[in-house]
């Protein structure tokens, strides 16, 4: 049985990774999950300097989902390299994808340049779609010209292949996928969270200090599948699918829709072993369906 997939020349032992921001750099979940079993650890977004993030409350539960407005709190790339990448040295079987955030093109480039010499980093995921950060973040992800430009700029400086992480908060995500491809992206990942809002009716105020937050969880899964399908039929570069993946069925759905790999996000919060559970489910599915190579199911549903 082959579970290996390849994205931009980088081989992953299996297509299951976790979604940025839901898993730290793996440290907190290493008590529950053998990180060596994952296709990749995708780190929490890292900027050029430490970011404090948004005020609290940052979390709200909604039906079959949740809203978050963390605001990309992170320790900055220096601490990240010294501590988080060093920790990930212990897990040689898994790839490391570093999620990169910034307020401006210069900030993204600063991080990408710093990571260029880090051999533990296999790929970069460029976050141009965080709905909780006003400058940078989603501001880049909602304008195709900006997507293409930032992709091109980052690509010029990046030593590792780049994945552009797309926002679903757009009229037509295919346009953004095409823009990323035109800018030279090696792959795209989607979807980031959908902007939502929750109001406390007793207090008659917003639940989140940030008023709005990114919605994730099983409720968004069908939207993510649709968008992965649309993008897979629009661009030639590989897609990492994410959005509400909680079970192996959800992950297989993503691959059938055209994703080469799948990220598990919110599910980690209620099932710390979601990633490895999903992987086991996929292997059972492959046996039951006589699937020799996982690559053979990518995008077969047309």
């Amino acid at each position: 049985m082959n579970t290996k997939v390849t994205i931009a020349g980088v081989e992953f032992q299996n297509p299951i990774m976790e979604a940025s921001g839901t898993f730290g750099s793996g440290m907190e979940y290493s008590e529950f999950v053998d990180l060596n079993q994952l296709g990749a650890v995708v780190t929490k977004g890292v900027a050029n300097v430490p970011w404090p993030g948004n005020p609290t409350p940052r979390i709200a539960e909604v039906r079959s989902g949740m809203l978050n407005a963390i605001g990309l709190q992170n320790p900055g790339v220096e601490v990240f390299c010294e501590r988080d990448l060093k920790f990930l040295e212990h897990y040689k079987d898994t790839n490391v994808v570093v999620n990169v955030c910034g307020h401006s093109a210069e900030e993204y480039i600063e991080v990408v340049k710093r990571l260029a010499t880090e051999s533990r980093v296999d790929m970069l995921e460029i976050n141009i779609s965080c709905p909780n950060v006003k400058e940078g973040g989603i501001a880049f992800g909602q304008d195709p010209k900006a997507v293409e430009e930032i992709t091109r700029l980052v690509k010029t400086h990046a030593k590792q292949p780049i994945i552009m992480k797309l926002s679903p908060n757009v009229t037509d995500i295919k346009v953004m996928a095409k823009a990323a491809e035109a800018g030279g992206a090696d792959a795209i990942s989607l979807i980031n969270t959908l902007t939502g809002m929750k109001i406390d009716v007793e207090r008659q105020s917003f639940v989140l200090a940030n008023k709005t937050g990114g919605m994730s969880g099983p409720a968004v899964h069908p939207i993510a599948v649709r968008m992965v399908y649309e993008c897979a039929n629009t661009v030639k570069i590989p897609i990492i699918g994410m959005g509400g993946v909680c079970t192996w069925e959800d992950a297989v759905e993503m691959m059938l829709a055209g994703a080469t790999a799948v990220s598990v996000g919110t599910a980690n919060f209620f099932n710390p072993t979601a990633t490895t559970d999903i992987l086991a489910g996929i292997k059972d599915y492959m046996i039951r369906k006589n699937i020799e190579d996982i690559n053979s199911i990518i995008g077969v549903v047309q």
Partner: protein
């Protein structure tokens, strides 16, 4: 060591209006210390996130934990309906407990901040004065505190029992002295207790609360403002679930 497993309900009861007690058989009890919490999961798949609930009592011999919680929404409502024999998914113990360092301690709890102070009062060496605040005479865990504390002072908002006012009023009225004060309750109460401690030059630990998602320090949802730069993100945000919930009162902005 943290476990995520199915716990069996050994006992359930209603202690006061909206306040419930569950005794759970779980191996998490083996690793638990006072001041830690457990995540309890709803059986309703549309309620994704676990509910963080403080540990009220730890029974190492029987490998059981007691939690006492207030019904504040649909999740806790569901837990309030559990009866002996039912099963429920739990994860824990989570967070850091109270350092057991007072020789002469005051433990202070307000409202649903009362329960975690019980196991603490039991385990603290030396004399322990318990000061618990309630809204009115619909109180809970009073017998237990009477048993374990050297002295037990009650404060009620409406004055129906004990000191009329807050726990801080009760502390002032009794001019309480200690080497260490431990507190859990709403933020204004913690602020008041911390001020009292500072005036008297007493070391003070507070247990903080914030909306959480993962409960293990990964999502950065539940941060509180810290006076010093935090170890994780090198800003001023300590994680309540992982770095706390217990902090020195001087370590956090109250």
């Amino acid at each position: 060591m943290k476990v995520k497993e199915t716990a069996k309900v050994l006992e359930s009861s209603n202690l006061a209006q909206g306040v419930y007690s569950l005794r759970l058989s779980t191996t998490a009890a083996k690793y638990a210390v006072p001041g830690q919490f457990i995540n309890i999961f709803s059986k309703d798949g549309s309620k994704l996130l676990p509910r963080p609930i403080s540990i009220c009592e730890i029974d190492k011999e029987q490998s059981a934990l007691r939690v006492v919680f207030r019904v504040v929404g649909a999740g806790t409502e569901e837990f309030s309906k559990l009866v002996a024999g039912d099963e429920i998914t739990v994860m824990g113990p989570l967070g850091n407990g109270f350092p057991l360092e007072g020789e002469k301690s005051v433990v202070v709890g307000g409202g649903i901040g009362v329960p975690p102070m019980l196991q603490l009062a039991k385990e603290l060496p030396g004399t322990v004065v318990a000061v618990m605040g309630y809204r009115n005479d619909d109180m809970f865990l009073t017998e237990e505190f009477t048993d374990v504390a050297s002295d037990f002072i009650i404060a009620t908002d409406d004055g129906s029992v004990g000191v009329h006012g807050t726990v801080v009023d009760a502390m002032k009225e009794n001019d309480l002295q200690a080497d260490v004060i431990y507190a859990c309750g709403p933020k204004p109460m913690l602020r008041g207790v911390a001020e009292y401690a500072e005036e008297k030059g007493i070391k003070c630990y507070v247990s903080m609360e914030e909306r959480m998602a993962c409960g293990v320090g990964a999502c950065l949802g539940c941060v509180c403002q810290s006076t010093d730069v935090d170890d994780h993100s090198h800003v001023h945000n300590k994680r309540v679930c992982k770095d706390g919930p217990v902090f020195l009162s001087t370590e956090v902005e109250l």
